[in-house]
């Protein structure tokens, strides 16, 4: 056997460091990603908690925490405008690049994908480890940018120049982005090679679970969309550090001083390159959660997914189209009007496969005998909440309505419905669904129900008011919303959103307690507690090093539930009879 040539099959006892810290086992790395990205989500959420105080009660000192900040950030406990800008930029960056994407791809993809295709590990275990150990320093560097003179980056997660190039914190933001992108690229290559080459015998492409397909398409997007941002970030870094002028127009004045570089650059170029990544990125945020929801729904309706192939083709169509829709973020940027029309059309086209996916999920419910267990509640909540997020996006994809809505709270409400009450709800459902596999124990049901209902209701309490405010014309990105008369009529909604946000924070406590408590004290479960059909349930919980006792052979598609004439209502992919 060639076992000893591969480090991961060595038979010697692993030390603590090799087993839990610098592990090459995809399961350990997946859990490392899981815990780290949940922590980053909490950090991003905490930043937002500070901002929400300022938005609801502008100019009043922040209770408890206000005194902790240095006086240049929050004099007398009142948040300064610069600090507010930093918080906004870092909230977006952390949530997208350090929270949701690593959670959806790094954590779930790493842990579940090799199991679902019947592989012993990822194709490049050591590269997998490197990918985590570049992600973590990149994330810490991003957080450390608060220590820069003038605070962290202040130009939003989109970092539009010329504004972004003024701030020293931006240098750290860009360096950190380059590191994070490298980590993502390593991960994406690994996922693609694993999916292409490491499937168990019999696991043909059309027998792969939807979740694997979702990860596959997401990885293609990460692989091909991230390098342009890497290049764009390098150019911006040059602007920051070496005073080049890629994005700096000529004759620009900064605080009355001429810019040190030559000028002659194009700010709009950054917007194009940034959104070239950032729109596919949105689908990276959305597709894996959709895959999770599909797994949970098939499992708990006890019937095959409606339109498995339709869903796969829709995902591929979304993947391809997502490279041609980015400029709908730029309708009011001064780009060419005829190109706006092009992007309007492609945006309407990409909504078709998105709706097809949602329709398949809804039709999958039809005629099923639904088990309303915890993961299923999350999956069911995903469908309407994500639909609200998706459908409120349509007016933003049409140039005419976008011109009115673009710089209002409506945009914020829209994408938070998509990412928070869509993606994050689905990812939380995924935690409840795969927790028995990770630790061999179940999470507590009562606490889970408190977490579920609390989160869903408060999420709507945060983001629905944003939609109302936006339609009322309230401008986004403002430090003090009461400073402009046109924002005043809807200011009450800001207070509602802030109270909801704090309630949402409280409702995460049962989840955190439940997670760690169940790790050691949860109710023990069997190998396949949900009576599921996919391969991750055909190995012990938690799976040993190398995952499967022996190579599984796959005999059928992923969702053979309630097959007529069989005693059990599920038929595992690896069961011959």
């Amino acid at each position: 056997m060639s076992h000893d040539e591969h480090g991961q099959h060595a038979h010697h006892e692993l030390s603590f460091w090799e087993r839990y810290v610098f592990s090459v086992d995809h399961k350990v790395i997946g859990l490392q990603y899981l815990i780290t990205s949940f922590i980053f989500l909490l950090v991003g959420f905490a930043l937002m908690g500070l901002m929400r105080w300022q938005l609801a009660w502008p100019g009043t000192p922040i209770p408890f925490f206000g005194a902790l900040f240095p006086s240049d950030l929050a004099p007398n406990g009142v948040m300064s405008g610069e600090f507010y800008n930093s918080l906004g930029a870092m909230h977006g960056t952390i949530m997208v690049f350090l929270g949701v994407v690593p959670l959806a791809v790094g954590a779930y993809g790493n842990y579940v994908l090799p199991l679902q295709i019947g592989a012993p590990d990822m194709a490049f275990p050591r590269m997998n480890m490197m990918s985590y150990w570049t992600y973590l320093p990149g994330g810490i560097l991003m957080l450390a940018s608060f220590l820069m003179p003038g605070g962290a980056a202040q130009s939003g997660w989109t970092s539009y120049p010329p504004l972004s190039i003024i701030n020293p914190g931006q240098t750290v933001w860009l360096l950190s982005m380059v590191i994070l992108i490298t980590s993502s690229l390593l991960g994406a290559i690994n996922f693609l090679v694993t999916t292409i080459n490491m499937r168990a015998p019999g696991m043909s492409l059309w027998r792969m679970p939807i979740f694997v397909w979702a990860q596959f398409v997401s990885s293609v997007l990460l692989l091909l969309a991230f390098p342009p941002l890497e290049a764009a970030s390098i150019l911006q870094l040059m602007d920051r550090v070496f005073h080049t002028s890629f994005y700096m127009p000529k004759d620009i004045l900064i605080l009355g001083q001429a810019y040190a570089g030559s000028g002659g650059g194009q700010p709009l170029l950054w917007q194009h390159l940034f959104w070239f990544l950032a729109h596919p990125e949105v689908y990276v945020l959305v597709l894996p959660p959709m895959g999770i929801v599909a797994e949970i729904i098939a499992n708990n309706t006890r019937k095959p997914l409606h339109g498995y192939k339709t869903m796969v083709f829709s995902m591929i169509a979304i993947g391809v189209m997502s490279f041609m829709v980015w400029a709908h973020h730029m309708f009011i940027s001064g780009m060419s009007a005829s190109l706006s029309n092009f992007f309007l059309v492609t945006t309407m086209i990409i909504s078709v496969p998105s709706v097809a996916l949602m329709t398949c999920l809804v039709f999958s419910l039809k005629g099923g005998s639904i088990r309303f267990n915890l993961p299923m509640l999350y999956a069911l909540a995903f469908i309407p909440l994500f639909a609200i997020g998706g459908l409120t996006g349509l007016p933003l994809g049409l140039t005419v309505t976008d011109i009115y809505l673009h710089d209002t709270y409506y945009v914020i409400g829209h994408f938070h419905f998509v990412v928070v009450s869509g993606s994050i709800i689905a990812l939380m459902g995924g935690t409840y669904y795969w927790f028995p596999k990770w630790y061999g124990r179940k999470m507590n049901d009562t606490l889970g129900h408190i977490h579920f209902w609390g989160s869903v209701i408060t999420m709507c309490g945060i983001f629905a008011p944003m939609l109302f405010m936006g339609m009322g014309g309230a401008s986004r990105r403002l430090y003090d919303p009461t400073a402009q008369l046109h924002n005043l009529p809807v200011q009450g909604w800001n207070v509602v959103a802030t109270y909801s946000a704090y309630a949402l924070a409280l409702f995460q406590i049962p989840f955190i307690y439940n997670f760690f408590n169940s790790m050691w004290r949860g109710e023990k479960t069997v190998e396949n507690p949900w009576q599921a059909t996919t391969l991750e349930w055909a190995c012990p919980s938690p799976p040993p090093h190398g995952n499967f006792e022996k190579t599984p052979t796959v005999y059928r598609g992923p969702y053979e539930y309630s097959v007529p004439g069989r005693k059990d209502d599920f038929w595992m992919q690896s069961d011959k009879n």
Binding site: V193, S204, F226, A231, S245, T551
Partner: protein, 201 residues
């Protein structure tokens, strides 16, 4: 921890294995992302050039003869690394080491010539801040030079590994040489486009 998992069951299964080794597929996917990286830089170059009223001609502001020599050197190194692969394929260790060492020397020569090209520029006070043209020139050639440095590291690693019997006799070794070669040829291709774009047109 004894286990009977048999990777051969997967690797030799035509339904689920593409027939390309993991390493080679990984290198090609990495190159795909690199293509996007440099394509973005070329896009930026085109945009900046088109959005300006005038653009300097390479012969006027850069040292074209030196860059031509560099082109010859880099293409030569592509030739030597493919020869190193051919020698490794025939299990000729001495030949492999000779050609690989030649590759590394040529790539070092490339960097030295590059230094001779940068030096007078900096001495004359010309840097990336001077104009958009120099900004794109220094960024693209600099990024390309970083890729060269990475390639030298990989090639030097392979040269060292060939001296260790355990690595040289490893059946994976030839695949590693091929992967390093793919990367090196890609760096060459990038230069093939950079050279006319910056110096000649």
């Amino acid at each position: 921890m004894s286990q009977t998992y048999d990777p051969a069951a997967i690797m030799n299964n035509p339904d689920t294995h593409s027939g390309v080794t993991n390493a080679k597929l990984g290198v090609w996917l990495f190159l795909a992302s690199e293509i996007m990286l440099f394509a973005t830089l070329f896009t930026s170059y085109i945009v900046l050039r088109m959005a300006s009223t005038s653009w300097p001609w390479g012969w006027d502001v850069l040292n074209v003869p030196l860059a031509t020599v560099n082109t010859v050197v880099l293409i030569g190194s592509s030739m030597t690394i493919v020869m190193a692969y051919a020698r490794a394929y025939d299990k000729d260790k001495g030949g492999f080491q000779k050609w690989m060492a030649a590759t590394i020397l040529l790539s070092l020569a490339f960097l030295v010539i590059k230094g001779f090209e940068y030096g007078p520029k900096f001495a004359a006070g010309i840097g990336p801040h001077t104009s958009v043209f120099y900004a794109i020139y220094f960024t693209m050639t600099g990024l390309h030079a970083i890729h060269i440095v990475g390639g030298i590291a990989v090639n030097a690693g392979l040269l060292y590994m060939s001296t260790v019997d355990g690595h040289w006799k490893n059946p994976l070794f030839l695949g590693r040489v091929e992967g390093a070669g793919l990367y090196w040829h890609f760096v060459d291709i990038v230069w093939i486009f950079l050279f006319p774009a910056l110096y000649l047109l």
